[in-house]
Protein backbone atom coordinates (compact mmCIF):
# COMPACT_ATOMS: atom_id res chain seq x y z
CA UNK A 1 0.00 0.00 0.00
CA UNK A 2 2.84 2.35 0.81
CA UNK A 3 4.37 1.87 -2.66
CA UNK A 4 0.96 2.51 -4.17
CA UNK A 5 0.70 6.00 -2.72
CA UNK A 6 4.07 7.12 -4.01
CA UNK A 7 3.29 5.78 -7.52
CA UNK A 8 0.03 7.75 -7.53
CA UNK A 9 1.92 11.01 -7.51
CA UNK A 10 3.97 10.16 -10.61
CA UNK A 11 1.23 9.86 -13.28
CA UNK A 12 -2.08 11.64 -12.85
CA UNK A 13 -4.83 10.95 -15.42
CA UNK A 14 -6.63 14.12 -16.70
CA UNK A 15 -9.89 13.18 -14.91
CA UNK A 16 -8.05 13.08 -11.61
CA UNK A 17 -6.56 16.47 -12.36
CA UNK A 18 -10.04 17.97 -12.82
CA UNK A 19 -11.23 16.38 -9.57
CA UNK A 20 -8.16 17.64 -7.78
CA UNK A 21 -8.73 21.16 -9.09
CA UNK A 22 -12.36 21.06 -7.93
CA UNK A 23 -11.30 19.76 -4.53
CA UNK A 24 -8.67 22.47 -4.15
CA UNK A 25 -11.22 25.11 -5.14
CA UNK A 26 -13.78 23.92 -2.59
CA UNK A 27 -11.10 23.53 0.07
CA UNK A 28 -9.78 27.08 -0.43
CA UNK A 29 -13.33 28.46 -0.29
CA UNK A 30 -13.98 26.59 2.94
CA UNK A 31 -10.62 27.81 4.29
CA UNK A 32 -11.57 31.41 3.51
CA UNK A 33 -14.92 30.83 5.21
CA UNK A 34 -13.20 29.60 8.38
CA UNK A 35 -10.68 32.43 8.30
CA UNK A 36 -13.55 34.94 8.08
CA UNK A 37 -15.60 33.18 10.78
CA UNK A 38 -12.63 33.36 13.15
CA UNK A 39 -11.10 36.62 11.96
CA UNK A 40 -14.27 38.74 12.15
CA UNK A 41 -15.08 38.10 15.85
CA UNK A 42 -11.41 38.49 16.77
CA UNK A 43 -11.22 41.80 14.90
CA UNK A 44 -14.42 43.15 16.49
CA UNK A 45 -13.22 41.97 19.93
CA UNK A 46 -9.88 43.74 19.63
CA UNK A 47 -11.54 46.84 18.14
CA UNK A 48 -14.11 47.22 20.96
CA UNK A 49 -12.36 50.07 22.83
CA UNK A 50 -11.64 51.87 19.55
CA UNK A 51 -15.35 51.93 18.80
CA UNK A 52 -16.01 53.25 22.30
CA UNK A 53 -13.46 56.03 21.73
CA UNK A 54 -15.03 56.87 18.41
CA UNK A 55 -18.36 57.33 20.18
CA UNK A 56 -16.65 59.59 22.74
CA UNK A 57 -14.99 61.77 20.09
CA UNK A 58 -18.34 62.37 18.47
CA UNK A 59 -19.05 65.09 21.10
CA UNK A 60 -19.44 68.62 19.72
CA UNK A 61 -19.54 70.58 22.95
CA UNK A 62 -18.04 70.37 26.44
CA UNK A 63 -19.28 72.45 29.38
CA UNK A 64 -16.49 73.07 31.91
CA UNK A 65 -18.22 73.88 35.20
CA UNK A 66 -16.84 76.91 37.08
CA UNK A 67 -14.09 77.34 34.48
CA UNK A 68 -15.32 80.93 33.93
CA UNK A 69 -13.58 81.66 37.28
CA UNK A 70 -10.17 80.68 35.87
CA UNK A 71 -7.75 83.49 36.86
CA UNK A 72 -6.17 85.53 34.03
CA UNK A 73 -2.77 84.27 32.86
CA UNK A 74 -3.55 80.61 33.47
CA UNK A 75 -4.75 77.55 31.59
CA UNK A 76 -6.99 74.58 32.32
CA UNK A 77 -6.38 71.17 30.78
CA UNK A 78 -9.49 69.16 29.84
CA UNK A 79 -10.61 66.42 27.51
CA UNK A 80 -12.60 67.26 24.43
CA UNK A 81 -14.05 63.83 23.64
CA UNK A 82 -11.02 61.60 23.86
CA UNK A 83 -8.47 64.31 22.99
CA UNK A 84 -6.57 66.54 25.43
CA UNK A 85 -7.34 70.25 25.09
CA UNK A 86 -6.61 73.48 26.96
CA UNK A 87 -8.66 76.51 27.96
CA UNK A 88 -6.57 79.67 28.32
CA UNK A 89 -7.63 82.88 30.11
CA UNK A 90 -5.24 85.55 28.82
CA UNK A 91 -4.08 88.55 30.82
CA UNK A 92 -5.94 90.85 28.40
CA UNK A 93 -9.10 89.04 29.58
CA UNK A 94 -9.66 87.19 26.29
CA UNK A 95 -10.26 83.46 26.16
CA UNK A 96 -8.96 80.75 23.84
CA UNK A 97 -9.55 77.00 23.68
CA UNK A 98 -7.03 74.92 21.74
CA UNK A 99 -6.30 71.29 21.16
CA UNK A 100 -3.33 70.35 23.37
CA UNK A 101 -1.90 67.77 20.97
CA UNK A 102 1.31 68.96 19.31
CA UNK A 103 0.94 68.78 15.53
CA UNK A 104 4.53 67.55 15.24
CA UNK A 105 4.47 64.12 16.91
CA UNK A 106 1.47 64.17 19.23
CA UNK A 107 2.89 65.09 22.67
CA UNK A 108 0.70 67.15 25.03
CA UNK A 109 1.76 70.81 24.97
CA UNK A 110 1.74 73.31 27.87
CA UNK A 111 0.93 77.01 28.32
CA UNK A 112 3.93 79.03 29.57
CA UNK A 113 2.42 82.32 30.91
CA UNK A 114 5.86 83.87 31.72
CA UNK A 115 6.86 83.85 28.03
CA UNK A 116 3.38 84.01 26.59
CA UNK A 117 3.79 80.90 24.43
CA UNK A 118 2.56 77.34 24.22
CA UNK A 119 5.55 75.04 24.43
CA UNK A 120 6.06 71.36 23.66
CA UNK A 121 8.70 69.62 25.78
CA UNK A 122 9.25 66.77 23.34
CA UNK A 123 10.97 68.67 20.50
CA UNK A 124 10.71 72.33 21.49
CA UNK A 125 7.81 73.28 19.22
CA UNK A 126 6.07 76.56 20.10
CA UNK A 127 2.65 78.06 19.32
CA UNK A 128 0.96 81.39 19.78
CA UNK A 129 -1.49 81.01 22.71
CA UNK A 130 -4.06 83.40 21.17
CA UNK A 131 -4.36 81.72 17.80
CA UNK A 132 -2.68 78.37 18.12
CA UNK A 133 -0.39 79.34 15.20
CA UNK A 134 2.89 77.40 15.09
CA UNK A 135 5.64 80.00 15.61
CA UNK A 136 8.85 78.05 16.08
CA UNK A 137 10.35 74.57 16.11
CA UNK A 138 9.24 71.54 14.12
CA UNK A 139 5.39 71.70 14.25
CA UNK A 140 3.98 71.79 10.68
CA UNK A 141 0.48 73.10 11.49
CA UNK A 142 -1.30 75.29 14.05
CA UNK A 143 -3.10 73.68 17.01
CA UNK A 144 -6.75 72.83 16.63
CA UNK A 145 -9.01 75.76 17.62
CA UNK A 146 -12.27 75.56 19.52
CA UNK A 147 -14.90 78.19 20.23
CA UNK A 148 -15.31 79.40 23.85
CA UNK A 149 -18.53 80.89 25.28
CA UNK A 150 -18.82 81.95 28.92
CA UNK A 151 -21.92 81.99 31.08
CA UNK A 152 -22.55 82.24 34.85
CA UNK A 153 -21.93 78.57 35.53
CA UNK A 154 -19.40 77.32 33.00
CA UNK A 155 -17.11 77.86 30.09
CA UNK A 156 -18.66 76.11 27.11
CA UNK A 157 -16.20 74.84 24.51
CA UNK A 158 -17.46 73.72 21.13
CA UNK A 159 -16.12 72.72 17.74
CA UNK A 160 -15.13 75.63 15.53
Amino acid sequence: MSELTSKHIVAVPPDDLATRRLFLGVASLAGLGYAAAIGYPVYRYLASPIEENAAASAVTEVALRDAQKLPPGSALMFKFGSQPAMLIHHRDNTWTALGAVCTHLGCTVQYVPARGVIHCNCHGGEYDPHTGQNISGPPPRPLKRYVVKLNDEAAVVSRA
Binding site: S2, T5, S6, A37, P41, V42, Y45, L46, S48, E51
Partner: protein, 357 residues
Protein backbone atom coordinates in the same frame (compact mmCIF):
# COMPACT_ATOMS: atom_id res chain seq x y z
CA UNK B 1 14.81 32.22 -9.61
CA UNK B 2 12.72 29.98 -7.32
CA UNK B 3 15.45 27.41 -7.07
CA UNK B 4 18.03 30.12 -6.42
CA UNK B 5 16.01 31.34 -3.43
CA UNK B 6 15.51 27.75 -2.30
CA UNK B 7 19.23 27.04 -2.49
CA UNK B 8 20.04 30.23 -0.63
CA UNK B 9 17.66 29.29 2.20
CA UNK B 10 18.61 25.60 2.12
CA UNK B 11 22.29 26.36 2.60
CA UNK B 12 21.45 28.40 5.69
CA UNK B 13 18.46 26.55 7.19
CA UNK B 14 18.98 22.94 6.08
CA UNK B 15 15.54 22.63 4.42
CA UNK B 16 16.48 19.47 2.54
CA UNK B 17 17.47 17.67 5.73
CA UNK B 18 14.24 18.70 7.43
CA UNK B 19 12.18 17.45 4.50
CA UNK B 20 14.12 14.20 4.36
CA UNK B 21 13.28 13.73 8.05
CA UNK B 22 9.59 14.35 7.34
CA UNK B 23 9.66 11.99 4.33
CA UNK B 24 11.25 9.19 6.32
CA UNK B 25 8.66 9.28 9.07
CA UNK B 26 5.88 6.72 8.60
CA UNK B 27 2.75 6.01 10.61
CA UNK B 28 1.60 2.42 11.10
CA UNK B 29 -1.83 1.41 9.80
CA UNK B 30 -3.85 -1.15 11.76
CA UNK B 31 -7.15 -1.64 13.58
CA UNK B 32 -6.22 0.74 16.41
CA UNK B 33 -4.75 3.54 14.27
CA UNK B 34 -7.63 5.81 15.30
CA UNK B 35 -6.00 6.39 18.67
CA UNK B 36 -2.92 7.92 17.00
CA UNK B 37 -4.92 11.12 16.37
CA UNK B 38 -5.46 12.02 20.01
CA UNK B 39 -2.00 13.43 20.70
CA UNK B 40 -2.42 15.68 17.66
CA UNK B 41 -5.91 16.71 18.79
CA UNK B 42 -4.47 17.64 22.19
CA UNK B 43 -1.79 19.70 20.46
CA UNK B 44 -4.43 21.52 18.42
CA UNK B 45 -6.47 22.28 21.53
CA UNK B 46 -3.34 23.54 23.26
CA UNK B 47 -2.67 25.93 20.37
CA UNK B 48 -6.30 27.09 20.55
CA UNK B 49 -5.81 27.70 24.29
CA UNK B 50 -2.69 29.76 23.67
CA UNK B 51 -4.46 31.91 21.06
CA UNK B 52 -7.71 32.47 22.96
CA UNK B 53 -5.64 32.98 26.12
CA UNK B 54 -3.66 35.81 24.53
CA UNK B 55 -6.93 37.39 23.39
CA UNK B 56 -8.31 37.27 26.95
CA UNK B 57 -5.04 38.72 28.20
CA UNK B 58 -5.78 41.83 26.15
CA UNK B 59 -8.57 42.87 28.55
CA UNK B 60 -8.11 40.78 31.70
CA UNK B 61 -6.88 42.69 34.77
CA UNK B 62 -5.61 40.53 37.64
CA UNK B 63 -5.89 41.63 41.25
CA UNK B 64 -8.82 43.52 42.76
CA UNK B 65 -10.25 44.33 39.32
CA UNK B 66 -10.37 40.72 38.09
CA UNK B 67 -14.13 40.15 38.31
CA UNK B 68 -14.98 43.50 36.75
CA UNK B 69 -12.61 42.91 33.85
CA UNK B 70 -14.08 39.46 33.14
CA UNK B 71 -17.55 41.02 33.34
CA UNK B 72 -16.47 43.56 30.72
CA UNK B 73 -15.03 40.83 28.51
CA UNK B 74 -18.21 38.79 28.81
CA UNK B 75 -20.84 41.52 28.43
CA UNK B 76 -19.18 44.59 26.94
CA UNK B 77 -16.49 43.70 24.41
CA UNK B 78 -17.75 42.45 21.07
CA UNK B 79 -17.58 38.63 20.95
CA UNK B 80 -15.78 38.63 24.31
CA UNK B 81 -18.30 36.07 25.57
CA UNK B 82 -17.39 33.81 22.65
CA UNK B 83 -13.65 34.02 23.19
CA UNK B 84 -13.99 33.39 26.91
CA UNK B 85 -16.42 30.54 26.26
CA UNK B 86 -14.03 29.00 23.73
CA UNK B 87 -11.16 29.23 26.23
CA UNK B 88 -13.20 27.52 28.96
CA UNK B 89 -14.62 24.81 26.72
CA UNK B 90 -11.25 24.20 25.09
CA UNK B 91 -9.68 23.66 28.52
CA UNK B 92 -12.18 20.89 29.19
CA UNK B 93 -11.79 19.34 25.75
CA UNK B 94 -8.01 19.43 26.10
CA UNK B 95 -8.06 17.55 29.40
CA UNK B 96 -10.50 15.03 27.91
CA UNK B 97 -8.24 14.55 24.86
CA UNK B 98 -5.21 14.05 27.12
CA UNK B 99 -7.05 11.34 29.05
CA UNK B 100 -8.01 9.53 25.84
CA UNK B 101 -4.41 9.89 24.60
CA UNK B 102 -2.99 8.63 27.90
CA UNK B 103 -5.19 5.53 28.10
CA UNK B 104 -4.63 4.66 24.43
CA UNK B 105 -0.87 4.94 25.01
CA UNK B 106 -1.24 2.79 28.10
CA UNK B 107 -3.22 0.00 26.43
CA UNK B 108 -1.06 0.04 23.29
CA UNK B 109 1.88 -0.29 25.67
CA UNK B 110 3.57 2.67 24.04
CA UNK B 111 5.38 3.38 27.32
CA UNK B 112 7.72 0.39 26.85
CA UNK B 113 11.39 0.66 25.94
CA UNK B 114 12.56 2.99 24.38
CA UNK B 115 9.53 5.28 24.89
CA UNK B 116 9.63 5.65 28.69
CA UNK B 117 10.31 9.38 28.52
CA UNK B 118 7.35 9.88 26.23
CA UNK B 119 5.24 8.49 29.09
CA UNK B 120 6.96 10.55 31.80
CA UNK B 121 6.82 13.83 29.89
CA UNK B 122 3.21 13.10 28.92
CA UNK B 123 2.19 12.64 32.56
CA UNK B 124 4.06 15.82 33.52
CA UNK B 125 2.18 17.65 30.75
CA UNK B 126 -1.11 16.28 32.12
CA UNK B 127 -0.21 17.49 35.63
CA UNK B 128 0.67 20.95 34.25
CA UNK B 129 -2.59 21.02 32.27
CA UNK B 130 -4.56 20.30 35.45
CA UNK B 131 -2.68 23.12 37.20
CA UNK B 132 -3.58 25.34 34.24
CA UNK B 133 -7.19 24.32 34.81
CA UNK B 134 -7.08 24.93 38.55
CA UNK B 135 -5.33 28.31 38.33
CA UNK B 136 -7.44 29.49 35.40
CA UNK B 137 -10.62 28.62 37.26
CA UNK B 138 -9.93 31.31 39.88
CA UNK B 139 -9.18 34.15 37.48
CA UNK B 140 -12.80 35.35 36.90
CA UNK B 141 -13.18 35.57 40.72
CA UNK B 142 -16.86 34.70 40.67
CA UNK B 143 -18.47 32.65 43.43
CA UNK B 144 -17.60 29.31 41.79
CA UNK B 145 -13.95 30.33 41.36
CA UNK B 146 -13.78 31.50 44.93
CA UNK B 147 -15.09 28.31 46.53
CA UNK B 148 -13.32 25.96 44.08
CA UNK B 149 -10.01 27.56 45.04
CA UNK B 150 -10.80 27.41 48.75
CA UNK B 151 -11.66 23.71 48.48
CA UNK B 152 -8.79 22.88 46.13
CA UNK B 153 -6.29 24.41 48.53
CA UNK B 154 -7.35 21.86 51.15
CA UNK B 155 -5.21 19.34 49.25
CA UNK B 156 -1.83 21.04 49.80
CA UNK B 157 -3.12 22.03 53.27
CA UNK B 158 -3.41 18.30 54.06
CA UNK B 159 0.33 17.72 53.75
CA UNK B 160 1.80 16.80 57.13
CA UNK B 161 3.28 19.65 59.22
CA UNK B 162 4.15 22.09 56.41
CA UNK B 163 0.69 21.90 54.76
CA UNK B 164 -0.77 25.11 56.24
CA UNK B 165 2.39 27.06 55.35
CA UNK B 166 2.20 25.83 51.74
CA UNK B 167 -1.49 26.73 51.61
CA UNK B 168 -0.81 30.28 52.83
CA UNK B 169 2.03 30.63 50.36
CA UNK B 170 -0.10 29.55 47.38
CA UNK B 171 -2.97 31.74 48.53
CA UNK B 172 -0.85 34.80 49.29
CA UNK B 173 -2.57 35.37 52.64
CA UNK B 174 -5.01 33.79 55.02
CA UNK B 175 -7.98 34.17 52.68
CA UNK B 176 -8.59 33.82 48.93
CA UNK B 177 -8.50 37.38 47.59
CA UNK B 178 -6.86 39.79 45.18
CA UNK B 179 -3.34 38.54 45.99
CA UNK B 180 -4.44 34.98 45.21
CA UNK B 181 -5.74 36.04 41.79
CA UNK B 182 -2.56 37.97 41.14
CA UNK B 183 -0.27 35.01 41.81
CA UNK B 184 -2.54 32.48 40.11
CA UNK B 185 -2.43 34.81 37.11
CA UNK B 186 1.38 34.82 37.12
CA UNK B 187 1.29 31.03 37.38
CA UNK B 188 -1.30 30.65 34.63
CA UNK B 189 0.21 32.93 31.99
CA UNK B 190 3.94 32.88 32.72
CA UNK B 191 5.18 30.05 34.93
CA UNK B 192 3.05 27.20 33.58
CA UNK B 193 3.58 28.06 29.89
CA UNK B 194 7.32 28.41 30.53
CA UNK B 195 7.35 24.87 31.96
CA UNK B 196 4.84 23.45 29.49
CA UNK B 197 6.45 24.54 26.21
CA UNK B 198 9.91 22.94 26.63
CA UNK B 199 8.31 19.75 27.98
CA UNK B 200 5.97 19.71 24.99
CA UNK B 201 8.98 20.19 22.70
CA UNK B 202 10.72 17.22 24.28
CA UNK B 203 7.54 15.13 24.08
CA UNK B 204 7.14 15.89 20.36
CA UNK B 205 10.81 15.30 19.65
CA UNK B 206 10.54 11.86 21.25
CA UNK B 207 7.57 10.99 19.03
CA UNK B 208 9.64 12.13 16.05
CA UNK B 209 12.65 10.10 17.16
CA UNK B 210 10.95 6.84 18.13
CA UNK B 211 7.92 6.96 15.84
CA UNK B 212 4.49 5.60 16.75
CA UNK B 213 4.40 2.50 18.91
CA UNK B 214 2.26 -0.36 17.63
CA UNK B 215 0.10 -2.56 19.87
CA UNK B 216 1.66 -5.94 20.83
CA UNK B 217 -0.62 -7.92 18.48
CA UNK B 218 0.64 -5.83 15.57
CA UNK B 219 4.24 -6.09 16.67
CA UNK B 220 3.99 -9.88 16.62
CA UNK B 221 3.46 -9.79 12.84
CA UNK B 222 6.47 -10.05 10.52
CA UNK B 223 7.76 -6.68 9.34
CA UNK B 224 6.58 -7.33 5.76
CA UNK B 225 2.99 -7.85 6.91
CA UNK B 226 2.81 -4.50 8.74
CA UNK B 227 1.26 -1.61 6.85
CA UNK B 228 2.20 2.04 7.14
CA UNK B 229 1.68 5.38 5.40
CA UNK B 230 4.08 8.34 5.14
CA UNK B 231 3.56 10.95 7.84
CA UNK B 232 3.85 13.69 5.23
CA UNK B 233 1.53 14.35 3.49
CA UNK B 234 -0.76 11.35 4.06
CA UNK B 235 -1.07 11.16 7.83
CA UNK B 236 -0.62 14.90 8.15
CA UNK B 237 -3.69 15.45 5.97
CA UNK B 238 -5.73 13.13 8.19
CA UNK B 239 -4.39 14.92 11.26
CA UNK B 240 -5.60 18.21 9.80
CA UNK B 241 -9.02 16.70 9.17
CA UNK B 242 -9.16 15.74 12.85
CA UNK B 243 -8.11 19.26 13.81
CA UNK B 244 -10.97 20.58 11.70
CA UNK B 245 -13.42 18.30 13.51
CA UNK B 246 -12.01 19.44 16.86
CA UNK B 247 -12.38 23.08 15.78
CA UNK B 248 -16.01 22.50 14.79
CA UNK B 249 -16.84 20.74 18.05
CA UNK B 250 -15.19 23.58 19.99
CA UNK B 251 -17.03 26.26 17.98
CA UNK B 252 -20.39 24.54 18.50
CA UNK B 253 -19.91 24.04 22.24
CA UNK B 254 -18.57 27.55 22.80
CA UNK B 255 -21.33 29.30 20.87
CA UNK B 256 -24.32 27.11 21.78
CA UNK B 257 -23.42 26.73 25.46
CA UNK B 258 -21.72 30.00 26.42
CA UNK B 259 -19.72 29.79 29.62
CA UNK B 260 -21.49 31.71 32.37
CA UNK B 261 -20.19 34.21 34.89
CA UNK B 262 -21.57 33.97 38.43
CA UNK B 263 -21.89 36.67 41.04
CA UNK B 264 -18.64 38.12 42.44
CA UNK B 265 -16.87 35.81 44.88
CA UNK B 266 -17.74 36.94 48.39
CA UNK B 267 -16.62 35.20 51.60
CA UNK B 268 -19.81 36.38 53.36
CA UNK B 269 -22.19 34.81 50.83
CA UNK B 270 -22.80 31.08 51.39
CA UNK B 271 -21.57 28.66 48.71
CA UNK B 272 -24.22 28.26 45.97
CA UNK B 273 -26.27 25.03 46.00
CA UNK B 274 -25.02 22.18 43.78
CA UNK B 275 -21.45 23.51 43.70
CA UNK B 276 -19.06 20.72 42.73
CA UNK B 277 -15.54 20.19 41.36
CA UNK B 278 -14.99 20.24 37.59
CA UNK B 279 -15.41 16.75 36.12
CA UNK B 280 -11.67 16.16 35.86
CA UNK B 281 -11.22 16.71 39.59
CA UNK B 282 -14.41 14.85 40.53
CA UNK B 283 -12.78 11.43 40.67
CA UNK B 284 -9.92 12.50 42.95
CA UNK B 285 -12.31 14.24 45.35
CA UNK B 286 -14.67 11.28 45.44
CA UNK B 287 -11.76 8.88 46.02
CA UNK B 288 -10.48 10.97 48.91
CA UNK B 289 -14.02 11.13 50.29
CA UNK B 290 -14.53 7.35 50.04
CA UNK B 291 -11.12 6.59 51.52
CA UNK B 292 -11.92 9.04 54.32
CA UNK B 293 -15.12 7.10 55.02
CA UNK B 294 -13.31 3.76 55.02
CA UNK B 295 -10.46 4.97 57.21
CA UNK B 296 -11.86 7.68 59.47
CA UNK B 297 -9.74 9.93 61.68
CA UNK B 298 -6.43 11.65 61.10
CA UNK B 299 -4.49 8.39 60.74
CA UNK B 300 -7.13 7.17 58.30
CA UNK B 301 -6.81 10.36 56.29
CA UNK B 302 -3.06 9.80 56.07
CA UNK B 303 -3.63 6.20 54.99
CA UNK B 304 -6.11 7.34 52.37
CA UNK B 305 -3.59 9.83 51.00
CA UNK B 306 -0.93 7.10 50.93
CA UNK B 307 -3.15 4.71 48.95
CA UNK B 308 -4.18 7.48 46.55
CA UNK B 309 -0.62 8.62 45.98
CA UNK B 310 0.68 5.05 45.70
CA UNK B 311 -1.75 4.57 42.81
CA UNK B 312 -0.37 7.70 41.10
CA UNK B 313 3.24 6.57 41.64
CA UNK B 314 2.52 3.08 40.25
CA UNK B 315 0.86 4.66 37.21
CA UNK B 316 3.89 6.88 36.67
CA UNK B 317 6.42 4.06 37.10
CA UNK B 318 4.63 1.49 34.91
CA UNK B 319 7.39 1.47 32.23
CA UNK B 320 9.80 0.08 34.82
CA UNK B 321 7.46 -2.79 35.68
CA UNK B 322 6.32 -3.63 32.14
CA UNK B 323 9.29 -2.40 30.16
CA UNK B 324 9.82 -4.73 27.23
CA UNK B 325 7.88 -6.53 24.52
CA UNK B 326 8.44 -9.99 25.96
CA UNK B 327 7.40 -9.24 29.54
CA UNK B 328 4.46 -11.71 29.22
CA UNK B 329 2.87 -11.99 32.66
CA UNK B 330 3.91 -8.46 33.68
CA UNK B 331 2.38 -7.16 30.47
CA UNK B 332 -0.93 -8.82 31.34
CA UNK B 333 -0.87 -7.51 34.93
CA UNK B 334 -0.14 -3.98 33.68
CA UNK B 335 -3.08 -4.33 31.30
CA UNK B 336 -5.41 -5.31 34.18
CA UNK B 337 -3.99 -2.46 36.27
CA UNK B 338 -4.92 -0.07 33.47
CA UNK B 339 -8.45 -1.49 33.30
CA UNK B 340 -8.74 -1.13 37.08
CA UNK B 341 -7.61 2.51 36.97
CA UNK B 342 -10.05 3.28 34.16
CA UNK B 343 -12.85 1.52 36.06
CA UNK B 344 -12.10 3.37 39.31
CA UNK B 345 -11.94 6.72 37.46
CA UNK B 346 -15.29 6.17 35.75
CA UNK B 347 -17.04 4.77 38.84
CA UNK B 348 -15.78 7.45 41.25
CA UNK B 349 -16.65 10.20 38.75
CA UNK B 350 -20.15 8.78 38.35
CA UNK B 351 -20.47 8.36 42.12
CA UNK B 352 -19.35 11.96 42.59
CA UNK B 353 -22.08 13.24 40.29
CA UNK B 354 -24.60 10.86 41.87
CA UNK B 355 -23.88 12.20 45.35
CA UNK B 356 -24.77 15.72 44.15
CA UNK B 357 -28.39 14.73 43.72
Amino acid sequence: MGSAIYNWLDERLGLTEAMALAREKRVPVHGHSFWYYWGGITLFLFIAQALTGVLLLVYFRPGADAYESVRQITYQMHFGWLIRSAHSWCANLMIFAIFVHMFSVFFMKAYRRPREFGWFTGLALLALTMLFGFSGYLLPMDELSYFATKVGLQIPAGVTLIGPAIEDMIRGGAEVGEFTVQRFFALHVVVLPALFLPLLGLHLWLVQKHGNAVPPAEEAKPAAARLSIPFFPNFFAKDLAMWLIALNVLALLASLFPWGLGRPGDPLVPAPPGIHPEWYFMSSFEMLKVLGRWFPGAAGEALGMIIFNAGLVLWFLIPFYDGSNDSGRRGRIAHYFGLLVLFVLVVTTAAGYQSLK
